[in-house]
Amino acid sequence: MAEYKLDCLHEVCPIPLLKALKSLEKMEIGDILIMHTDHNCSIANVVEWTKKQGHYIDYIEIAEGEWEIYIEKAR
């Protein structure tokens, strides 16, 4: 039930998505990934991809144009 942090500030598309994908591969079921991103597209494409994979996901806006995305590996 570990928590991992992933810093994706100032990254260009599709790096945030690929970083998330790579981290999720190493994680155990039940672990949570916390992504910190300022890429406007992340809250669309990371969310969509993760949902498709069947993991739990939600996000909140923590500053203007900055989000924290939470992903719980479900399978």
Binding site: L9, H10, E11, V12, P14, I15, L18, K22, D38, N40, I43, A44, E61, A63, E64, G65, E66
Partner: protein, 172 residues
């Protein structure tokens, strides 16, 4: 709060974007008689810059074949292509500000600069060969029933495949 959140804060579904872009492109053709294109305007900015530096691009072969043919009141900076391109930048800024989500994002490192510059040059050069980018030679060309749109549409996937390989090899 609900409606504001849905329209201004939350990303619209992609299909909504697709429908609106199609309707805007049709409106553009209907109202102005020309379709959406991006590259020509940027080429003119480049020409303006090198002309100010002392070059004479008007003598280039390209302009013997395809003259810009400016009407009265149009220049390299003041022309419909420029207006459209600047409006797109301002429109995006407007949308982010209304969402309270504007943030200036710094450049991260040299690697990012290298890939941005190389990618930009490849796109610029490519768009001269194919007479437009994914907008002029694809998004506007396919609905015009012009064959070059379909050719562009097929081969952009080949390019994207090579690009993705490069991405995996050098960026990740």
């Amino acid at each position: 709060m609900g409606l504001y959140y849905k329209i201004v804060k939350k990303p619209w579904p992609y299909w909504v974007g697709g429908i609106l872009l199609a309707l805007l492109n049709i409106s553009l053709l209907l109202i102005t008689g020309s379709v959406w294109g991006v590259t020509t305007g940027l080429l003119y900015w480049g020409l303006f810059i090198i002309e100010s530096l002392g070059a004479n691009p008007a003598s280039w072969y390209y302009f013997n074949v395809y003259s810009p043919g400016f009407r009265g009141g149009y220049t390299l900076i003041l022309n419909p292509h420029s207006v459209l391109n600047i409006a797109i930048i301002i429109g995006a800024l407007l949308a982010v500000l209304w969402a309270n989500q504007y943030k200036f994002k710094k450049i991260k490192n040299m690697k990012q600069i290298f890939f941005a510059l190389a990618g930009g040059i490849l796109m610029g050069y490519g768009s001269r060969l194919s007479f437009g980018c994914n907008i002029g030679a694809y998004f506007s060309a396919i609905p015009s029933f012009s064959l070059h749109g379909w050719v562009f549409g097929v081969f952009i996937f080949v390019g994207a495949y090579i690009g993705t390989r490069i991405l995996y090899k050098y960026i990740i």
